[in-house]
Amino acid sequence: MTAELVLQIVLTVAAALVGVGVFGALSQQSIVMIMMGFELALNGVLLGAAAAWYFLAPQSPDAQMVVVVALVVMAVEMAMGFAATIAIYRARQVDMVDMATDLQG
């Protein structure tokens, strides 16, 4: 198999992860499950960046830095998501996004 074909296969896997993550983030009602959708999409970003590093530009550390940033974004998203979940649950016993419609137009 040529390197380009393997790159395309790995990127397709990454695209599938992003697609499933988008579906999960849009369709789930529970706040925790929505966060799992985000995590899955970020998982795809991580994989895509790693593939770009190995197959396209291994001499440059840029793609590795993208992987690091994706990992940090996952951690921040998780921490802030749970903090917001605790805050809104404590205030109003809300644990589903359909119950928090204050900003609905």
Partner: protein, 192 residues
């Protein structure tokens, strides 16, 4: 030709399939605890691909971080979810058809791009030690990224604490922090 051996390519494809299958399982299984571990399986499969792509350090960080993160997530599942064990079948979704459509459209859009772009040839060889390359970038040419990440994580610590704190000192002692006696649910707390 790629430097990856046929066995490595086969392992990468198998792990890729596993990661997508586990990702789909996250939103299919009834139990939210099972969904958490399906997500963990997806992350571990991606970490395996990173090992095959000669990024052992990032693979290790991904596996370690996600294992702990999913363990924490399981705790939150049990705290907040009405059906953590999946004992009764239930779905908690809104607009599943539109969401599936958008998810599929995202995948198709990305895939069409992936398979139609004329990818450039690889520039240079894979370095012997990718971890060294990353470390030198973090402490040198890409230090600004790490500075931003550091400030962002610190802000996250503060914001997370503020959001998760039930009653802070302003609740107890007023906006000016000058109340003679703290306003506590159970009186007798120490003044400032």
């Amino acid at each position: 030709m790629t430097e990856l051996s046929a066995w490595t390519v086969a392992a990468v494809i198998a792990l890729g399939g596993l990661s997508v299958a586990a990702g789909v399982a996250v939103f299919v299984v009834d139990s939210m605890a099972r969904a958490t571990f399906a997500l963990l399986a997806s992350f571990l499969a991606v970490a395996g691909i990173l090992v095959a792509l000669r990024l052992p350090y990032l693979a290790f960080v991904t596996a370690l971080m996600m294992t702990i993160e999913m363990a924490l997530m399981a705790v939150f599942m049990i705290m907040f979810m009405m059906n953590p064990a999946g004992l009764m079948p239930m779905t908690m979704v809104h607009n599943p058809r539109g969401s599936a459509l958008l998810g599929a459209a995202t995948f198709v859009l990305l895939t069409v791009g992936i398979w139609t772009v004329d990818w450039p040839a690889r520039g240079g060889d894979v370095p012997a030690d990718s971890t060294r390359q990353l470390g030198e970038a973090i402490m040198g040419s890409h230090m600004l990224v790490m500075l931003v990440i550091g400030v962002g994580l610190f802000a996250t610590i503060i914001a997370g604490t503020v959001l998760a704190t039930a009653r802070g000192r302003y609740d107890r002692l007023g906006a000016e922090l000058d109340a003679a006696r703290p306003d506590d649910p159970v009186p007798g707390g120490l003044p400032r």
